[in-house]
Symmetry: C2
Subunit: 192 residues, 2 copies
């Protein structure tokens, strides 16, 4: 069994302003970590099978230290040709990309590569539920946006999606503890 | 546009026995290459979106050669926790593992890790079409086996699946040129 993060009990006696501020604000986990915990929770509770794909790496040189131990001594990061996350939920294929932005005003569209948008467009055609999870770290708010919306916006003239757009048209994923980012709740409401 | 392998025209005048033998036998491409070409063909013809996942790697040390070039100088291969291939086809999630064996008699079950079998079992529960593609290189025959059959057999006492079992209960994927391993043809017959 795996230990999911348990709620931190607030003693209520702290007179450290910084720590009081922290209660409401940042939780110190990045979106990727939150999604890993969330997907593990979905897997352990048999709710869905969704995994992050490994980072694509171009291997150049490998040393065989022993007969069984291969040590990679030269390799480079490659640009991913697909999104980072996919899997299956309620008989449906699931595919999504996740991004964080430190901006307070907008989400820069260049953070999602052209081939990732193409990939999302492709999987939608075949019946996949495709979306993008975007976190504004400044507000500690995590939104789910339908992939088709991001694709449409990226085909327009704008270079970024204003924060205000998210408040109107995206779906705020409520912050929780188990799981931290319960995005399938939004998927349930949107598609089932 | 991508050039798919075109049929090699046999001049019929070769008196090299080796090359004559080669016509009927090995095509010099490993199963992974054949599947990559096949999946690219499916993608380009809008038939399906199925990708091989990158090899999971544990990165230990990275040198920043320049501001933008990161060189990985120490890394190790990790055991995959899922299968190698997944995607979407005809509204259905697809998930499979692919293996080659040089054996003439049987396919050793240990080539598929326990956690990969668990993964296949999990995705089946959620409505995924899950299978294993196994090539006997000695016969240059590639079979599609339902994942549930491999899972059942792996729970039994046997350590391998006899070649004869494949001839009776697995589905031979006809060898083609474009694409080389048209496994979705079998999926059409089995599930649609």
């Amino acid at each position: 069994m795996v230990n999911y993060p348990t709620p931190k009990i607030n003693s209520g006696v702290s007179n450290n302003t910084k720590s009081i501020k922290t209660q409401h604000g940042k939780r110190g986990m990045c979106l990727e970590d939150d999604l890993n915990v969330t997907n593990k929770y979905y897997l352990d509770t048999s709710k869905a099978v969704i995994h992050k794909k490994p980072t694509p790496i171009q291997i150049v040189k490998v040393d065989y230290v022993t007969r069984s131990t291969a040590k990679i001594t030269e390799a480079y990061f490659r640009k991913p040709s697909t999104t980072d996350y996919n899997g299956v939920y309620r008989q449906k294929a699931i595919d999504f990309e996740a991004k964080e932005t430190a901006s307070m005003n907008s989400f820069p569209l260049k953070s999602i590569h052209k081939h990732q948008l193409d990939h999302l467009e492709n999987v939608i055609k075949h019946g996949c539920l495709a979306f993008v999870i975007i976190r504004f770290t400044a507000y500690d708010q995590t939104f789910l946006v339908k992939a088709k919306d991001v694709i449409e916006l990226s085909k327009g003239s704008k270079r970024s999606i204003p924060y205000k757009w998210f408040l109107r048209f995206a779906y705020l994923i409520p912050f929780g503890l188990t799981p931290p980012v319960d995005y399938l709740k939004i998927i349930d409401d949107l598609y089932f």
